[in-house]
Symmetry: C2
Subunit: 464 residues, 2 copies
Amino acid sequence: MSEETEDLIPETESEEQAYSLEKKAIAAILYAVDVEDREQLVELLEPLHAADIADLLEQINPFDRRRLILLYDKEFDGEILSELDEVIREEVISILKPDVLADAVREMDSDDVVDLLEDLEETQHDAILDALEDSDRDAVQRSLNYPEYSAGRLMQTEVVMAPEHWTVGQAIDYLRGQDDLPEQFYHVILVDPRLHPIGNVTLGKIMASRRDVPLRDLTEQMFRVIPVTQDEGDVAYAFNQYHLISAPVVDDEGRLIGMITIDDAMTVLDEEHEEDILRLAGVGEESSLSDRVLETTRQRLPWLGVNLVTAVLASLVIAQFQGAIASLVALAVLMPIVASMGGNAGTQSLTVAVRALATKDLTGANVWRVLRREVLVGLINGLIFALIMGIVGLVWFGSWQLGYVIAAAMVINLVIAGLAGTAIPVILQRVGVDPALASGAFVTTVTDIVGFLAFLGLAVLVLL
Amino acid sequence: MSEETEDLIPETESEEQAYSLEKKAIAAILYAVDVEDREQLVELLEPLHAADIADLLEQINPFDRRRLILLYDKEFDGEILSELDEVIREEVISILKPDVLADAVREMDSDDVVDLLEDLEETQHDAILDALEDSDRDAVQRSLNYPEYSAGRLMQTEVVMAPEHWTVGQAIDYLRGQDDLPEQFYHVILVDPRLHPIGNVTLGKIMASRRDVPLRDLTEQMFRVIPVTQDEGDVAYAFNQYHLISAPVVDDEGRLIGMITIDDAMTVLDEEHEEDILRLAGVGEESSLSDRVLETTRQRLPWLGVNLVTAVLASLVIAQFQGAIASLVALAVLMPIVASMGGNAGTQSLTVAVRALATKDLTGANVWRVLRREVLVGLINGLIFALIMGIVGLVWFGSWQLGYVIAAAMVINLVIAGLAGTAIPVILQRVGVDPALASGAFVTTVTDIVGFLAFLGLAVLVLL
């Protein structure tokens, strides 16, 4: 890319855009692909982190992606595969030449290979296992024996451990003598003779201490052992709650079999949050920007289907009041307002409840207090908006009674919204259904039905 | 707590409840508070992590909280304060005796004190600054000079650095000679003579290498320098994207002035996600379970107010068709279905778009492709639900024309939902408004208005 071309593209990136790929960098890379200038492409991609190259591949169109990968050829790094979105990753694997794929996979850490294999189809799965060396293949297959989303899938099997009776000097001599230490490690794990982990010693403490100090005197105060079958969400929670940097993983007998580090926990935390947000919105939790149209349609259809049922139920309520609406059309004009306000208030309460359940802040110890608060908040907001809507109803349609009716319906629906928005997620969690996934549909059903029923029912009583 | 009492409370915790406080543990603690058994209370709280004690304090009621804190007295640890929710924290600080508070604050790291001070009122602010020793107070006040939510507030000023020309042996001797090394550190930062950081060397590499190896040969491949004014959200993004463990922080001249570690970045990532979810639901981003009724009401009111305006706008659209509704009440029964489906489809699209903007996956390079996808998804889902609702309309009201009308309105509204759900967050981001905060209101307005307009408008054209 010549300097001339760079100048043609104005510098529009502000500080807010830190870490996003610059437009002109993307343009330069695509230009190199266009003119098939391999040397230039390699030079442009070389300074980029694998995660950024993965982002680039996700953002360009499939045609450019294919050409870029074929031109980049042998330079393609295994880490890029780990960083790619599932959908694009499958596509990229199918584009890579077999020998390039084999090289890329052989470069990867075993836990990354496991992560890669989890999402792949059978044929690609086997191609990748075949590319591995025997010892790596064994490690990967052992990991795959642990349940999906468990600590066993997340851990690395390479750990640095020391007998509990060692001194600093013995540990340093041992580490100097090893030539296959893990790429990243921050602690030496002390173990008893039966390989039960009993403490972590940070490398910093070891380096700063005299050779004759027993390691046992240097163990960290904060020490948590992760069972191999623990759900990865709970693992991430423990790292976040207790500010862990790394934690030993143990089997059913409590023996050390691996280690999880905070960067893996951070990735899980990020994914779990993403899933929660997408579930709350009724979007398939695995969905991504790279999904194809049909896949996206399929993911969104179920929630829209549930919503249709909800909406039809609400319509059935309205249908009971056709006579009232025919004699006073103002009811049809105003009724969506009550339902809509209830839906929004309910969504507010349920989002707070779902989050509090996820962070284990909403428990049996405070559920009644939270419920009371939500109902009171609904009552106060209900009274405020009842006043406003009562006046709107009066001014718009010149009827005091219509004002009373919409005001009363508003109070009722906002109180019910607070109640349902809190109680429904709590109950769903108790019966073992993910509250993030299902609460929205239930709460909206309640607020729609109560909204229409309260408004139209009161109207019949008061007005007709 | 006697074993007898423990037996009275059935064991209901399943594996899913990992890391949440057990009911019976809470009961035992509250019992100790009830009978004012200080020794028992201290014994029960002693094994708990500060984060768990903070969770406990958040979950019990204000009366028990006060009694517990006064009974716990001098054992109260500064770290508990760091872990508490803002609202409860202010309350707890006002309960703590001045000397207990002073002790607690003196135990804390300077970055935790900064975090604590950020949220406090003036009088509490000064009380805490007064409790600090002079040197600590200076460090804290220097930090407070950096903008809120910047890397400067997040960093610790204690760093371990070495000149770039040092060898492993020199580094080890230096570390052994220091007696005030940071509590947690994982890298030695290499700096040039002008204190510009030029690389990280992990302690593991130093320990595993011979004494005469130059540190420069051991630097990590992945190395990012964080400007002190960078937004903490971007810092968290960098740690997550590039799998950083710690990163040096530099001033405007690029000189090393501090260090950020991954556990701080993880906390920020967690907070940012939380904010995003709460904003998407129209709940104040700072809201928590511990907020009082009036505070919660105040936080939720604005979004409900915006929704009321939206709902009234939609009602104004309906009001234009009062004649049509009066002559065919079925329209009033069916119209909420079209608006509701549009609202849900729009929320799906906007959630995906808002997330993709936050993770920098939706950029100028792919926005048109994503927009096209969302419109196509809306079209396909629109056709599917148009068919279903067309049949429902026909069967329910026995009118082919009503079926056509609701089907056509459904297709129109779901296409518009895909378009608006993607375009609105992108445009808001371009003009500098947080898309998570404002998209929902705009998108729902569009889908409500388009839904009612399309359905009622087509009805007038076709049916009347």
